[in-house]
């Protein structure tokens, strides 16, 4: 039930945030294109219901993905695609510096979260991670992964150091080293088995590709050595791919 409370709290914050927005001042820009088109919704296909001309001032109320909700002087409110706002002007006549997200933001990222899916020694694995970039090349990652297999389920928590080879390329290979713990829970239908927790070390390589806005594709291979309490260490190969977002 705890996470239901968490979601409800988040909802409350969301509502409070929107209510607080009622009193606020909005950013104003002057149209420099011959005209801009106001759509009824923030997406392709929504009809155009109003056109504002060059020289008119519009207020920017909010942004959703690539669309801005604007209010024109006559009070009409509608959604404008950001491409039509790239040539607008600030009140002082300077070009409006549109807060568009691009590759430069990717290069300057600090935090990143992501989810990847793949194969962990024959089991399906879902991995989620949080990452902090220290230098353009180096970052630290904390991973929580769950591998769900036929005979056992594994939960892995690892701390990894990642070296990105070419941080100024849109697609760049990387190498990683890490260590952590793995908890193995055999399936309930198997007889006479016990849960166990072992430490592990890993080494891996992968590729990350900057896609658009905050979106990054990532695919990687990792090989794990699990230090078991038995005579032999266990080696597990892992392949996975997925998407991440940076802040």
């Amino acid at each position: 039930m705890r996470w239901v409370l968490l979601v409800l709290t988040l909802c409350q914050f969301a509502i409070a945030g929107n209510a607080a927005g009622a009193e606020r001042q909005y950013r104003e820009v002057t149209i420099a294109d011959p005209f801009i088109e106001l759509h009824t919704g923030p997406g392709r296909g929504y009809p155009i219901f109003f056109v504002a001309e060059r020289g008119e001032d519009v207020e920017l109320l909010m942004r959703r993905t690539e669309w801005f909700k604007v209010r024109v002087a006559r009070g009409e409110e509608g959604w404008v695609h950001f491409e039509q706002l790239t040539t607008t002007l600030n009140p002082d006549g300077e070009p409006f510096d549109l807060p568009a997200l691009g590759f430069s933001d990717y290069a300057a990222r600090k935090w990143e979260v992501g989810a990847l899916y793949g194969d962990f020694g024959g089991a399906n694995v879902i991995g989620m991670y949080g990452s902090r970039t220290v230098t353009p090349n180096l970052s630290g990652e904390i991973w929580v992964s769950q591998a769900l297999g036929r005979f056992s389920d594994n939960t892995l928590v690892t701390v990894d150091i990642v070296h990105l080879m070419y941080p100024d390329w849109r697609a760049s290979p990387y190498f990683t080293l890490g260590a952590g713990v793995i908890k193995t829970v055999p399936k309930a239908t198997l007889v006479a088995t016990i849960d166990r927790t072992d430490t592990l070390a890993l080494v891996g390589a992968g590729v990350r590709v900057y896609l658009t806005r905050r979106f990054v594709f990532r695919g990687e291979y990792k090989t794990h050595v699990v230090f078991t309490s038995r005579d032999d260490n266990e080696e597990v190969q892992e392949w996975k791919a997925g998407f991440s977002f940076f802040f």
């Binding site: 969301a14 001042q25 392709r44 899916y117 389920d153 309930a188 979106f215």
Partner: protein, 219 residues
């Protein structure tokens, strides 16, 4: 004699005049430094901090509905969802839900035999999915009102905890987001949760259909 007196007089006059003149200059200088200038140059620039533009790409909310857990009846499911809208088309969703399942028909008919304990009977899931707003559109209410809608297809992977084990689960489905306000959405969703289960000896693929209604807030 007379000319000598004249020179002395002139010299004195010059000397005194010079001294008093200097003194007057100094006085003027002193007065200059204490008096404010007549025109105060007003060159202080106003720092304009443009208001931030509110970006509302995140969505959080709750959902409730019915889930049909294969062999274990149709049960009420409660859950939450969190989404991030990457583009006007694509979004990523993290969802979780929970349901208490019923007895199977076998357990009911046999009377005594129980396949699962109470805690094993609890069905819970989480998943990470990628969605695409395939049909954006509008609903017309009466003659003068239109509400924006988005019909989306969604699919992803996750984990289901049921019958004492965690099971890798694939989910896919279709949903509709109706937005009466820019920051408020009502969702209707139909999803299939698919996983393999070997509870009754033989492994089989179980399809668990879920129909939910939800409310979300953009922030």
């Amino acid at each position: 004699m007379e000319s000598r007196v004249l020179v002395l007089f002139l010299g004195l006059t010059l000397g005194v005049g010079g001294l008093t003149g200097c003194a007057r200059d100094r006085l003027v200088q002193a007065a200059d430094s204490t008096q404010p200038p007549v025109i105060e140059p007003d060159i202080e620039r106003r720092e304009i901090e443009p208001p931030r533009i509110d970006t509302e790409d995140f969505e959080v909310g709750i959902l409730a509905g019915q889930i049909s857990v294969e062999d274990f009846g149709v049960n009420t499911v409660l859950g939450g969802r969190f989404a991030y809208h990457v583009t006007e088309g694509f979004f990523v969703e993290l969802a979780a839900g929970k349901a208490d399942t019923e007895l199977t028909s076998f357990e009911r008919l046999s009377g005594a035999a129980q396949l699962l304990t109470d805690s094993e009977r609890e069905y819970s899931y989480y998943n990470v999915s990628l969605g695409y707003n395939i049909f954006p559109g509008e609903h017309f209410i009466g003659k003068n009102r239109a509400i924006n809608t988005e019909t989306y297809v969604i699919g992803g992977v996750g984990k289901t905890t049921f019958a004492g084990d965690d099971r890798f689960t694939v989910n896919f489905g279709i949903g509709m987001r109706v937005m009466p306000l820019d920051w408020l959405a009502v969702h209707g969703d139909i999803r299939d949760h698919v996983f393999d289960i070997d509870l009754l000896g033989q492994e089989k693929t179980s399809h668990n259909l879920e129909a939910t209604l939800g409310v979300t807030f953009f922030f």
